[in-house]
Symmetry: C2
């Protein structure tokens, strides 16, 4: 595919539509050439995003996060310790960050307890909804075909992170088998956004007002990967409460197609894509990210449980109410219990340790709070969909199998779908080492605001303790001190 | 209802179950007394959340947000100006914060443009799933019955907000008709969490690496309201990109019921609630918040549009693909088009100005990106559900009517449901002044970690420009400067 760079550094905005060149990379020779259509190259106006362009508007005043006593975490090789957490952070050329061996210190039981054996992004799938010759095959697997880690960008201190970040390098094998150092691919930092961890004001006690509030400060591991035009920001966030949150932000350049159209009124029949600027169409597409989440709650003998919120009609006049809902627990036993489509019923999904209970007899566990819930919109017999059948359910559960890591197949670009998550045998899985798979989906119908560069759109999920602790684990935790900046003042009220 | 305070300040954790006292408030005299059941009062152990309790664990180091040059916003009476935004913030004893007259400056058109005429929380609904005599009627309307503004708490500088906050007072009418001042009910501050507004690294141009990144800095208006045991944190957040985001955080104390049970094994039949500690049951419940969102996109002549993402099978061999999806636009015309249940199909919901188009012919608009999507779990004939029938759809659209503000009825505690949103006539509404209603739902099945005090659980929605601007509106905006703290250092790597 060819792009024209005149008037912009944004090569994705000026495609030479319909021009395809076949190159023999061994011989470095052009072996074929097709010029299929003649449409204008989109105009460069307003597409250059580089900092050299003229800037407009008043600047916001300086703002920053400071920790005058330094950060509260320690990095020891690949082990990271912060507050009540410790975990291992490693880099994979395919998956990017891998969080493993995560343990949380339980202040009541006075011991470290297992939470997540391993968590990572197993695959990304980005199919475009344009069936023209140069586009129909654009159904990218960004991990398996490109390498989500391979395209990690070098993060810069004080540019895209608060000052209190630590950086970590990674090494990959070069094509000549020599190690290549990738600098600053991870940053680790404490996140404070002015959010409130918990709050209560009690006015109900005569003669007293009790007001308690604690700030939310968390630990974040960040990687940014640029796979072609799109940039993905991946944050793994750890909370003192025991939650692990993963957030993915999508930003970067749109892919667009050159076109004769300069106005919607000229489009009579259906066209693949939306007109974003003169001669510039952009096709709808999806971003699916599937996470491999191997929780080990207090051991690797776990079960997958669905809490169904079920309405019960009341007909026996025991109450003026006619209904209520309660929680019905269903433990996954058969294959069909382990493929979950969310949205139709109100459920909570848990991984529990059936061998361990709290003092009052609840099974200890963690629950998955999903973010965006997306259904695939391709037909089952579409080759693209056959290869990414893992998108068909929002959540899957499999027994742990060391060879079952890559939801889109081990050699993704050669896979016909037969070695993907959707085909893996679902064996008995009560009280076993199980893996949870969650697909985070972003269907993307472009708007003009995404042109030429899309602002970060984020979603993710949370793994939250669910009867894992006997009670609120951070009720008595000492909060961080307050930083007072010497010369600050509150704004004048006119 | 009675509570026992011995051993804790947490009066919600020690209910005297089954004891009901009827009091004549004019005569200040007890006129009735029922002691229906005899169950133990839950133990006080671990339920005191006050700061006087012994604290545990190592403290995190000091962390803070600083703006050495002061904040970038200005407060002029009730008008707030920040970056490209201006809006009016007022206080309502029932709704809490009301955002109105919001305008955004369009740097390309060099004019202020209308976005939201008025946005506020119209009602909160919190029904408990316990049908015993003292509980079945607990189906609270926190705005209409209590006053979400009335229970706003006084926010304290540097305690529950970053240093750069401005505070605003409110006045309400006392029962003697004299004004009562409520201090510091709102705080306004700039939010910086180390997030990335946009990023792109370009590796595709031979001999060059272009890397651009901009930090995300937004303006937030916050109010915290404590209605009995629960505390709600309401954030209205404004972005330079044109987005308005509302986030509600739920925190505070659980309501619990005394019980004879000390272990789950003793519970033979179904019981209302989950055992969280010895003698302490807690019933599932919902939190529904319905937002009144009166968008006026460039005027008050607007239409409601649904973008449906529709799969199209491909059978004509024009492509090796067998399917794709495209966006089908449906403008609401009939009553049934204005009640939306989300979850079953992939849609985007927009308010557009049919009289105004972008240069290439897209209708200017804003879209609603919903957060949690919840269906009610009470039967339609339940009196509680009749009164809160507005929860039956996730989104409603009504033509603007000055008397239709309160989704749960004007005099909520006397309403039988006949004056609520679900009954309002849906008249013609193309190219009219329309109001969008969105219900944010939190079904809450308690876990032991919520005992005695629940950590903040947040959700919300975003109103995002959708072909409102000709292109990305912040591409060339000057980013805020970097704050370098003099004595900072990155953590030592061991």
């Amino acid at each position: 595919m060819c792009s024209y760079l005149d008037g912009t550094v944004n090569l994705y905005m000026r495609p030479e539509e319909g021009v395809t060149v076949a190159v023999d990379l061994d011989e470095m020779r052009i072996v074929g050439f097709v010029d299929r259509v003649t449409v204008p190259v989109p105009k460069p106006n307003g597409t250059d995003y580089s900092g050299l362009q003229k800037r407009v508007g008043p600047a916001l005043k300086r703002i920053g996060l400071v920790q005058p006593d330094g950060p509260s975490f320690a990095v020891d090789g690949h082990m990271i310790r912060w507050a009540n957490w410790e975990f291992h952070l490693s880099f994979d050329v395919r998956a990017g960050p891998i969080i493993s061996l995560s343990l949380i210190y339980d202040a009541e039981q006075q011991e470290f307890r297992q939470v997540m054996y391993r968590g990572f992004i197993s695959e990304l799938f980005v199919p475009y909804m344009d069936l023209t010759e140069e586009w129909y095959y654009r159904t990218f697997f960004d991990a398996g075909e490109y390498g989500f880690g391979l395209y990690a960008v070098q993060l810069e201190p004080l540019r895209d992170c608060p000052e209190n970040a630590a950086f970590m390098d990674a090494y990959i094998a070069g094509q000549d088998r020599k190690p290549i150092k990738m600098s600053n691919v991870f940053r680790v930092f404490e996140r404070y956004a002015g959010d409130i961890r918990w709050h209560h004001t009690e006015l109900g006690i005569p003669g007293k007002v009790i007001r308690e509030v604690r700030p939310e400060v968390n630990l974040v591991v960040r990687m940014v990967s640029t796979v072609g035009n799109y940039d993905y920001i991946v944050d793994w966030e750890f909370k003192q409460s025991g939650s692990i949150k993963a957030t993915v932000g999508l930003t970067g350049l749109l892919e667009v197609r050159g076109s004769n159209y300069t106005h919607n009124d000229q489009i009579a029949d259906e066209e693949y894509g939306v007109l974003l600027a003169e001669n510039t169409l952009s096709a709808p597409h999806d971003h699916f990210l599937i996470f491999h989440l191997d929780l080990d709650i207090d051991s690797d003998s776990n079960s997958f449980v669905k809490f169904v919120f079920r309405q019960t009609p009341v007909t026996d006049r025991r109450s003026p109410r006619k209904s209520y809902w309660s929680v019905v627990s269903e433990t996954a036993k058969t294959k069909s219990d382990t493929k979950i489509k969310l949205g139709s019923e109100q459920v909570e999904l848990l991984v529990v340790n059936p061998g361990k209970k709290t003092k009052v007899g609840n099974r200890v566990g963690y629950r998955l709070i999903p973010g965006s819930i997306t259904q695939p919109l391709l037909s089952d017999d579409d080759y693209a969909q056959i290869r990414r059948a893992f998108t068909k359910y929002n959540v899957w559960v499999t027994p742990y199998n060391t060879s079952e890591k890559w939801a889109g197949g081990l050699y993704t670009d050669q896979s016909n779908g037969e070695d993907t998550l959707a085909t893996w045998t679902q064996r008995a899985m009560e009280n076993k080492d199980i893996v949870l798979w969650y697909t985070l989906g972003f269907p993307h119908a472009p708007y003009q605001e995404d042109f030429p560069l899309m602002l970060t759109l984020s979603s993710g999920f949370e793994l939250r303790p669910a009867n894992f602790f006997e009670s609120n684990p951070v009720l008595r935790v000492i909060p961080p001190g307050v930083v007072e900046w010497p010369n600050c003042s509150i704004p004048s009220v006119i």
